[in-house]
């Protein structure tokens, strides 16, 4: 009888092997905490972004492997939702409302001012790594616009002057931690 020999063929490195320890831990922890949930991908991605400030593209294979999904499925979800970041955020994240109720009270002028003051466009991060600017389509603060959120803190009646104050204030950290909740995403990296 011929002897059968088992040969193991290396297919690919284990998913997530090349991830920095911190990012790997964030993913594994997020998956672990939400494994029991039905349709857990969004809660997992939220947890990763809450901890890291973004969802590193290199983390996608590990998330997919752990959740028994394809990389395409995970990538597809991350890219579908505006909130999930594929680039690390600046130390402070500013969400500026572009929607109609804010337009009616000068959101377009504020938007132009913000871009000029920070020297970046929407989805950009300032060269010093301090600020990221994101558009948002309604913060539900429509009677007291223009509205913005800086580091998870909602702000009302934001004029250009008020914007400058808030941004300067933002540099010394969020004023109050009370309402930070899910949006406490500026602490990443």
């Amino acid at each position: 009888m011929a002897e059968r020999k088992r040969v193991s063929i290396p297919i690919r490195p284990a998913p997530g092997e090349d991830l920095p320890i911190e990012e790997r831990a964030a993913v594994l922890d997020a998956v672990e905490r939400h494994r029991g949930l039905a349709g857990a991908l969004l809660p997992v991605l939220h947890a990763v972004q809450e901890r890291l400030g973004w969802v590193p593209p290199k983390a996608v294979p590990l998330i997919a492997f752990e959740m028994n999904l394809t990389r395409a499925e995970v990538h597809g979800v991350i890219t579908f939702y505006h909130y999930f970041r594929q680039h690390p955020p600046g130390r402070h994240v500013i969400h500026l409302c572009r929607a109609e109720a804010c337009q009616a009270v000068g959101a377009a002028a504020l938007e132009a001012h913000a871009k000029r003051a920070l020297g970046i466009d929407f989805h950009g991060t300032s060269a010093d790594g301090r600020y990221s600017l994101e558009p948002v389509y309604c913060l539900g603060n429509c009677a007291t616009g223009p509205s913005m959120m800086i580091d998870g803190q909602l702000q009302s009646r934001v004029t250009s002057e008020r914007f400058d104050e808030l941004v300067r204030g933002g540099a010394s950290g969020p004023v109050a931690a009370g309402a930070a909740g899910v949006a406490g995403m500026a602490t990443g990296r």
Binding site: E73, A99, A104, Y137, C138, A143, A176
Partner: protein, 534 residues
């Protein structure tokens, strides 16, 4: 609405003053957090004993932060209070209702509030949102108690008889939806709350979740009993961190009190509730897209049929309703279908929490029975524009709603009347613009928004929105104007009739209404227009 606080006994003794300060997001953005701290600090400095109760907001935003103190015969309101006012308020004896330039008298007699019919939003700003005792003292959980004693079909019949229609915008009769789910056999059924309040100019869902979360929980629990669902989800947008925190804590409290869990209120029936966060996709406010998202996928819409009521979340029969719809259910069960049905006009029964927003002097929440006119809302409540200039246009019903000129302001708030006028009531948001608005820019924005937020599933919406931006740009630039006009109308027609869901299907409303009612804005000198369009 009764003005007695849950903690009335302490103030009666005269030694401890009860002070109410909202912790609702808009109030906080206007300084309520700092005011609350200042009051506590000033009280300590003066040796006054103050009990601070953090409430939701009554929704009178031009008066926020609105501070109320408990007096012997009711509350006295002061506002808008800034930290700099706190010392002088103490000086004026505001703890005992003393005179001050910010004194507004009893909040219930502020005309804006006195002339409302608060059914669904009755407790906003009144109770401590996280006090079950407070909630129960204000009729809370009476609806669930009534429902628990009824067979499911009778709960559904009560909701049907009340005339309640979906408050998210589509206005589908709630009872009929529930009956479909009740009558569809299934091992597992679900209750899903659409709290993805993405329409600009709306915040009533948020106010309710932050100011009266048990009302939503109670409404969803009643829905669970009515259709035989044991699990519910609240799909909440990430932009509402405060609502997320409040709702999550309220669910935990309801669990501890046996109002959620395996044995709801001693009925022996189970109902579990979970909050899930969205991630900034407007389309996820569309119910089938929301279900896809809840299942952990891209929020692309599904073909209908099958209806979610038959094949919804994870393929199971599912009730999907908006926050305000669920929150209107407890009072219907408590006071009966006839009570609710007696409010309203035509086929729009009950009341609608209307939101006055944008360029408005007195922005906020106005809950009125259907039938109030747009003009009353804009001028009697809203007081005209914040800028003091004339109102030129209003957009009702969110980014998919039509822009209306002054000639339509006598339209009553009624689903059918709005549809007849070529608009839609939607979620009850009204965005006000003054005469500086450029309606061509608004039309362009509508198309741009559609392009950004399209789920990409159907071609008219995915491609049409981008082509729409281009056509409007050429139209405004004066490039073969007549041709662009007919192109734009043709494109809108394709989107209107060829899109799979309301996003692509309704975006022609703001575009065409702007073109029809404000054609002069599309025919400006090219140089001016180019600057406005960018």
């Amino acid at each position: 609405m009764s003005a007695s606080a849950g903690s009335g006994s302490t103030s009666a003794s005269g030694s401890v003053s009860v002070v109410y300060v909202p912790r609702e997001a808009t109030a906080v953005s206007l300084g309520a957090e700092a005011v609350s701290r200042a009051i506590a600090g000033e009280a300590a400095r003066r040796g006054e004993r103050v009990q601070l109760v953090r409430t939701g907001s009554r929704g009178l935003f031009w008066l926020e932060p609105l501070v109320e103190v408990q007096g012997a015969s009711g509350r006295i309101a002061y506002g808008p209070v800034q930290t700099g006012d706190v010392a002088s308020l103490f000086e004026a004896g505001f703890l005992r209702g003393g005179a001050h330039r910010l004194r507004l008298g009893p909040p219930e007699s502020i005309p804006y509030l006195a002339r409302q019919q608060r059914l669904t939003c009755a407790r906003l700003g009144v109770i401590d949102p996280l006090s079950l005792a407070d909630y129960r003292a204000h009729e809370g959980y009476a609806g669930l108690a009534a429902a628990a004693a009824m067979p499911p079909a009778e709960i559904v019949k009560t909701v049907t008889d009340s005339g309640l229609r979906g408050r998210g915008g589509a206005a589908f009769p709630t009872g009929i939806k529930w009956k479909t789910v009740l009558d569809t056999p299934g091992e597992q059924k679900y209750i899903v709350c659409n709290a993805d309040e993405g329409d600009s100019g709306t915040f009533s869902d948020r106010l309710l979740m932050e100011g009266d979360p048990f009302c939503l929980i109670e409404g969803m629990t009643i829905a669970g009993l009515a259709v035989g669902a044991t699990r519910g989800y609240v799909y909440l947008r990430w932009e509402y961190p405060q609502a997320h925190e409040t709702l999550t804590r309220a669910i935990a409290l309801a669990h501890e009190a046996g109002l959620l869990g395996t044995d709801v209120m001693g009925t022996g029936r189970a109902f579990e509730l979970e909050v899930r966060l969205g991630a900034g996709a407007y389309i996820c406010g569309e119910e089938t897209s929301l279900l896809e998202s809840l299942e952990g996928r891209r929020g692309q819409i599904r073909y209908k049929p099958p209806l979610p009521a038959i094949k919804g979340l994870f393929g199971c029969p599912t009730v999907v309703n908006n926050v305000i719809t669920f929150a209107s259910v407890p009072i219907i069960l408590t006071r009966g279908a006839a009570f609710y049905r007696d409010f309203g006009m035509g086929r729009s029964r009950g009341s609608l929490p209307i939101q006055l927003t944008g360029n408005i002097a007195r922005g906020g929440l106005v809950e009125r029975a259907f039938g109030v006119t747009l003009r009353e809302l804009l001028y009697d409540y809203g007081g005209g524009t914040r800028s003091g200039r004339p109102i030129r246009a209003v957009q009702v019903g969110g980014p998919l709603g039509a822009y209306w000129p002054e000639s339509k302001f006598d339209t009553p708030v009624d689903y059918e009347a709005f549809a007849q006028g070529g608009g839609m009531l939607g979620h009850g948001g009204i965005v006000v613009f003054d005469d500086t608005v450029d309606m061509a820019a608004q039309a362009r924005y509508a198309m741009e928004f559609c392009a950004i937020e399209s789920c990409g599933k159907c071609t008219p919406c995915r491609i049409g929105s981008t082509r729409g931006v281009e056509v409007i740009d050429r139209l405004v630039a004066g490039e073969r104007r007549e041709l662009q006009h007919s192109l734009l109308r043709d494109l809108c027609n394709t989107m209107l009739y060829g899109s799979l869901c309301a996003l692509g299907g309704l975006i022609p409303y703001p575009v065409l209404s702007a073109l029809d009612h404000f054609p002069e804005d599309f025919a400006k000198p090219a140089a001016l227009a180019a600057a406005a369009g960018s």
